[in-house]
Symmetry: C2
Subunit: 229 residues, 2 copies
């Protein structure tokens, strides 16, 4: 039987790269995409195309409207404005308005339930603490602690078979991520990063800036369309 | 400003006791009830009545249909039969069919997001590893590890203000839980424990047996109705 991996797939550059990495590691892919009251649904639509590209046996969409209902983030609450420039917030030790409370802990908890049910041994998540926005739940120490908690929380852990969380991009810059992904044939033209979620990326939000910087440093043209440049 | 607590409220005996404990500790209560494809909705209805009893400012219901859709538990998957007798599964080091994959990790992750948004400093959850069904995510070591992960995952943790998870029943028998709850005036007549979810409790499932044993040991009559006895 083929070994299986659950992939947390947002449709962004990092999670799309994780699809390629998990595939390359010989896994059958079970992507999971969360629907959590983002201001736009473009991420979900692109995630579907990426799942199709990889010919996955199943692509699950998970309704987490609750996160939108409680608000608390510029990404889910229309009363909070998405900041135009906040890149390198990490340098300032400040957590930006686009932080969604406990997001990765929630995503990973649900991914663990799914992994137990389909019999996957690993969960891939595209977090990175390099060239990132300063979210606490993107740091390697969070992933390490989460792995311990997962081990204690699950039947698989109790039986010693275990489910582990892999964050292969944790220590990579965007440039390095993109170079790895291109070598694996990752379809970046299907990925979407812009917080504004238009058909063309804004090129100005934190997420666009980090992405553009990565492609520039890799010396490759970003295949998606931008409003400017 | 009154200090706030999120309470994971299933409508069962333990979580109802936690409402009383949190209230007694001086917290304004923000109960959270999860809707996750249980075979019956009685728990949710009773949880609403319990929230009303305590006059809470808000009672949030969280849709987690995903857990029902993926199945994997006798409580959410109609293809798996709820075992009639499985009490003391913990003694046999076996995890019962009623285990829901990663349930408490998922509930607590979402409770953390809610706590961050409403500004609660604590989350109460009624897990216990005494007189329990052998679920791995009811053990104190899971709660301890989850607290560390929460600290690393959140803005509150990063700022040092923190959100902590309290499991006040962790080391209590059902008898001790009931005695504490009765002293606090907890409305056990509104709570529901039976896995079958009928208007009258079956009195035979694992959950009913643990509950009846607790009331018997406390020397008090259980105020809810049973089909037998």
């Amino acid at each position: 039987m083929e070994k299986k991996a659950v992939v947390v797939l947002s449709g962004g550059l990092d999670s799309t790269t994780c699809m390629g990495i998990a595939k390359d590691a010989g896994y059958e892919l079970y992507p999971l995409t969360f629907y959590y009251g983002q201001r736009h649904n473009r991420e979900v639509e692109q995630a579907k195309k990426i799942a199709d590209f990889y010919g996955v046996p199943a692509h699950r969409l998970v309704n987490l409207d609750f996160l939108g209902q409680i608000g608390g983030s510029a990404l889910t609450d229309t009363n909070i404005e998405v900041p135009v420039v906040q890149a390198n917030a990490a340098d300032e030790e400040e957590i930006p308005a686009t932080y969604v409370p406990a997001r990765n802990m929630i995503f990973l908890s649900l991914a663990v339930a799914y992994a137990e049910v389909v019999g996957a041994e690993v969960i891939y998540i595209g977090v990175s603490a390099v060239d990132y926005s300063g979210y606490p739940d993107c740091r390697p120490e969070f992933i390490r602690s989460m792995n311990e908690t997962v081990h204690l929380a699950t039947k698989a852990g109790a039986k010693g078979t275990g489910i582990r969380i892999e964050a292969p991009l944790a220590h990579l810059s965007k440039k390095e991520t993109i170079e790895w992904g291109l070598a694996l044939g990752v379809p970046y033209e299907l990925s979407t990063s812009c917080y504004q979620g238009g058909a063309e990326a804004c090129g100005e939000c934190d997420s666009c800036r980090l992405r553009l910087k990565g492609f520039a440093e890799a010396g490759v043209k970003d295949p998606i369309s931008y409003q400017k440049g």
